[in-house]
């Protein structure tokens, strides 16, 4: 009975602890899961070099591969401000111009965002390619609105 109580206290503590860690720690600190180009543009110099996530729309015709390197450059926008990004690595398949992306990295003093991790942010509309080619659009949340909080 004594041993059972110890195990129970231990199990409850582990689960309650993990729940608290998720609710207060992970949920709380990621309520602002990413920052927007406008917010990054307004960062003070003491925020340079700090790890963060930046999200925006990949500006059309901004995507370039740097020759003789594994670097890719592009720009992310929220409609108001645009931030140039230098990425080192292999971009994911669904990372495309005119689409959303979340990048992890740091803003440096040259006002450029340096990243080693890209996540593609896709929208909530689903349709076959024929419909898309026919120019059909389904109702969906405006991309720039998905960058803001309600």
């Amino acid at each position: 009975m004594q041993q059972r109580n110890i195990w129970m206290a231990l199990s409850v503590a582990v689960i309650a602890g993990s729940l608290g860690y998720l609710a207060v720690g992970k949920f709380g600190e990621n309520l602002v899961y990413f920052v927007t180009p406008s917010e990054v543009a307004a960062l003070s110099p003491d925020q340079y070099g700090k790890k963060m996530r930046l999200a925006g729309l990949v500006v059309k015709e901004s995507l370039h591969v740097v020759s003789n390197s594994t670097k890719v450059t592009f720009a992310l926008t929220d409609g108001a401000k645009t931030i140039p990004v230098v990425f080192e690595g292999i971009p994911p398949d669904l990372f495309k111009e005119g689409q959303g992306a979340v990048v992890e990295g740091r803003l440096e003093a040259d006002q450029t965002f340096y990243s080693t991790m890209i996540m593609a942010k896709h929208s909530e509309d689903y349709m076959p390619i024929e419909m898309k080619r026919a120019g059909l659009e389904l109702p969906k949340k405006d991309f720039f609105k998905t960058l803001q909080m309600e």
Binding site: M8, S11, L94, F95, P128, I129, L138, K141, E150
Partner: protein, 232 residues
């Protein structure tokens, strides 16, 4: 109640088979690939039905918990245990399929996005429930504590649902909202078939699991009486 469950559960099982068979065929074979995601979109036909039916199972668990706290009917506690078990299982499936879908589309298995974190919390709430039930020896006390946890945990449901609208997330916003339906008919059909099929499966499993839990309690009570008798 128990005889009612035993009599009608078969219909739900048959319905689940039919809808899931039609849903899997349309979802995996006859429906079109997505213009952006390609073939990977088919994971949605499993992920979305299991995620939302996990929340439906929790709603049943919540309703049962309120009812139990009010009436203290032991059969309702059996329903609570059954629906919580189904919810735990469906939540795990939704998390795993979500992860499998996230890697090829987002480029990560997991990220600390509010939708993902709030959904993972559901798994922990249910783990807490079963830990409580496993350790508390007094059955009525375990039922009451469990029901209280079930009621409190319900706040996670609206947070999960609206997280993609209220906060910044990597997860896409709602495809079915006041904005309208953001899905082509050819993809909506397998999703509806799978969702109905999963709901029928959920109902069937809760019905049959309730009987298992009920019979186990009955057996334990009888064993208790026998052991008591031998002591005399």
């Amino acid at each position: 109640m128990i005889s009612f469950l035993r009599r009608y559960q078969g219909w739900f099982a048959v319905g689940a088979y039919l809808f899931l068979a039609a849903g899997l065929y349309t979802g995996l074979v006859s429906s079109p690939a997505d213009y952006y995601q390609g073939e990977v979109v088919r994971i949605m036909y499993v992920h979305v039905p299991f995620a939302y039916n996990a929340m439906l199972a929790y709603t049943i668990f919540f309703g049962g918990s309120v009812w139990y706290l009010w009436k203290k009917d032991p059969v309702i506690d059996n329903v609570c245990q059954a629906s919580a078990a189904v919810c735990l299982f469906f939540t795990a499936i939704a998390l795993v399929t979500g992860s499998l879908w996230a890697k090829p589309t987002w480029n990560t298995w997991w990220t600390w996005d509010p939708r993902l974190v709030s959904f993972a919390m559901l798994l922990l709430i249910l783990s807490g429930y079963f830990t409580l039930r496993a350790f508390l020896e007094d059955d009525e006390k375990a039922a009451v504590y469990g029901a209280v946890l079930g009621v409190i945990g319900f706040v996670d449901l609206p947070i999960i649902h609206f997280s993609v609208e209220w906060w910044r997330t990597l997860h896409q916003p709602l495809s079915f909202s006041t904005r309208g339906v953001s899905m082509a008919p050819g993809m909506l059909i397998p999703l509806i078939l799978m969702s109905v099929g999963t709901s029928l499966l959920l109902t069937y499993v809760i019905m049959s699991r309730t009987q298992v839990v009920y019979l186990r309690h009955l057996l334990e009570a009888k064993q208790g009486r026998l052991l008591g008798a031998t002591k005399l």
